[in-house]
Symmetry: C2
Subunit: 424 residues, 2 copies
């Protein structure tokens, strides 16, 4: 079959942009007409790059009447948002890998695209090379998805895997990851969970079919995970992962959050190591489905970007463009506050090593309606203190916080070292 040839304009020629150019070399049906870059003279990691394609004015692309698809791989809100609004207003289709933009400006952008009858595809923005958005919108279209458990950030998963394997501290692994280029000089976006939160905001919106507000997503990073936490988790049969969660509760409210969790080794997310990402979906009628693969990198991301370009290219000329890929989530999710969520918890604390301490702990938790699944003394510390690790049964976060607050003021408790939610 002879497909219509499409012309694309590429905004951004960093790692992903270079990957897109290289992969498109095998697809003569897609012509790169222009590439917008910050610095035209910068040396690029592409053989035989046609310098005449480069422009330092991205509006050359969004205003070019010959360009059918604008591919945006610069990231961030400005100038990406203004550029994409201009592109859609000019009737162009969009392929983007910009998770922050989708999370913060997805609603007005999709609304505009619907008015203008153009497509916005963004497979690369969520979980890199793993097919997830298209499957949810097509193969799984018959499903009511009610739960997502996911590892959506490769940098933090690399750090946590390495901490567990080598028994070294967060700071030490971060430094090494930065030297290897797996973590950025300012790692905040990754290690504080912003990147995962952007991704789960969009993924939850699509999968749970209600618009999730990024500002209402509880977010907690991995910087407080200690060598002890890693060791205790391992002994108890868990791995520590930065998990992005989303679920629809029975009352219709939606619980979306990003934070570290002790993941039981029987849960398939526990075996996702290194920079790999994974998404587990649960819904009816399908049941539980898992996808895993490379969540970032030049070529895996380019795989999804070019997949989206080809999807548009092969649909151009239709009356309805990619009819299943429309975004129409006008209903805003009613998001649950973290205090109202129910979880199992790992709590690590240092107590005075006297008889009756465990009894006292039991009394405090019991008074706050918290059942304990296990209480383990993990050895004697300095100055006659005892390390104690507790795993609770399902408990309301609010009650846990009150109990912890009370314990912090208890004369027998030296320190609450950490508390981490648990995923069985």
């Amino acid at each position: 079959m002879d497909y219509k040839k499409v012309k694309i304009g590429l905004i951004g020629l960093g790692t992903v942009g270079c990957g897109v150019v290289k992969v498109l070399a095998d697809f003569p049906e897609v012509e790169i007409k222009k590439i917008a870059v910050k610095n035209i003279n910068k040396k690029r990691n592409i053989e035989n790059l046609d310098i005449s394609l480069l422009t330092d004015n991205p509006f050359d692309i969004v205003n070019d009447p010959e360009i059918d698809i604008v591919v945006e791989v610069i990231g961030g809100i400005e100038p990406a948002y203004d550029l994409l609004v201009a592109a859609v207003n000019n009737g162009k289709h969009i392929v983007t890998a910009n998770k922050e933009l989708l999370a913060k400006k997805g609603e007005p952008l999709f609304k505009l695209a619907k008015e203008k009858n153009t497509a916005i595809l963004y497979e690369a923005a969520i979980a890199g090379g793993i097919p997830i958005i298209m499957p949810i919108k097509t193969t799984l279209a018959a499903n009511k998805i009610n739960e997502i458990e996911a590892i959506l950030n490769g940098t933090t998963n690399y750090i946590l895997t390495k901490m567990e394997k080598d028994g070294v501290s967060y700071e030490e692994v971060l430094k090494e990851a930065q030297e290897l280029g797996y973590a950025e000089t300012d790692p905040t976006g990754d290690v504080e969970g912003f990147d995962s939160a952007y991704k789960i905001a969009t993924l939850a919106t699509i999968a749970l079919n209600k618009r999730v507000d990024i500002n209402k997503i509880y977010r907690e990073g991995i910087t407080k995970i200690s060598v002890d936490d890693m060791r205790f988790a391992k002994e108890l049969g868990y791995k520590i992962k930065l998990v992005a969660l989303a679920k629809t509760l029975e009352d219709g409210r939606v619980d979306v959050r990003v934070h570290p969790m002790l993941v039981h080794v029987k849960n398939c997310l526990a075996s996702i190591n290194g920079v790999t990402n994974s998404v587990v979906l649960e819904g009816f009628p399908v049941g539980r489905v898992m996808m895993a693969g490379p969540g970032a990198g030049e070529f895996p991301t380019a795989s999804s970007v070019v997949g989206d370009i080809l999807a548009i290219q092969r649909s151009i000329g239709e009356n309805k463009l990619l009819p299943m890929m429309e975004c129409h989530h006008h209903i805003n999710a009613q998001q649950v506050d973290i205090k109202d969520t129910v979880n199992k918890y790992y709590i690590s604390l240092t107590a005075v090593n006297t008889p009756g301490v465990i009894g006292a702990l039991g009394e405090v938790f019991g008074r706050h309606n918290i059942s304990l699944a296990s209480v383990l003394q993990k050895g004697i510390g300095k100055e006659n203190t005892a390390q104690i690790v507790i795993i609770t049964e399902n408990s309301k976060e609010d009650n846990i916080l009150t109990a912890i607050n009370e314990l912090e003021n208890n004369k027998n408790i030296v320190k609450i070292n950490n508390y981490i939610r648990v995923l069985e």
Copy 2:
């Protein structure tokens, strides 16, 4: 958006057919106009089934001018093939879960559908509820996929998981599986690998982009796996799985086969337990991607069938129907004979317990160009015999068979118990 309502005719009302009827109850845009069954009076597991829809003549469906989509869930070649040919000739789109039909009659059927400009979708035929065909054709369209490793049959994976966990024999677990309804009275189709072979034939055709001939797929079932094999595999860090493999070799030939393998615990397929299926794809640019989920069952299968129905329903009225989903694999794969494949092997044998036996084994294997990764004596058997387990390095199957044949005639070798290929 208001979609066009479509009318479907359902051929078959067994487990999957009932699931499709139940799931479609939530999709008013799809009307079930007729359902063909063998016995109209049979009691069905569906509440409020409209008996007036039933017919015992499936040609009522394929010849009904009002029906847009024929959904075939009866399985087997006859009468399914004749029915679908008639349906396509009448301009109808097809959704099928029939892996045997696709493997044996896919080529003429897709050719006819192309002539008649109708769609044939079959997500449910491969790996049940797991999205795999649509992702390969859309999100992963930029990839050259060169390898598939998959577990595609739930019954055998259930049996092998149970054998490993409980340390019991194949016969014992099969009996239990039959009682529980996980295995059929005549289990041949599953346990001898036919079902997996049908699925990998179609999956490899799509993913490797060359038509794979089902008759040239090497196939070996799980009936010879012993309790000892399970135990030795476990001790060596492997699980035994019925693996469906497909890869493109450097010379362009294609290696497609189904047989048990010792899968190293570090390979993610090793952790696929029970009736779950999994597909691992490796390609460029994406790298390695894995999908896992329920491979069979009323609702997971219905999820994929209804996903396909909705994909067609939402595309009807387009000039080009589902342009990315066409099948055009006119190039026949040149398939490698199993004798010419290269694998690592697990070999279990019983030898006379005399000094020098391991030296003699080494000599035979060495003479046939087979390097041994490990040789382990696993205890002394009856009548002064020794159980020996060997793991080889990569070796040509032909050489392995010759060496095994020679060992069978060696006076120090009592018996070659089994040999199983190894997947690291």
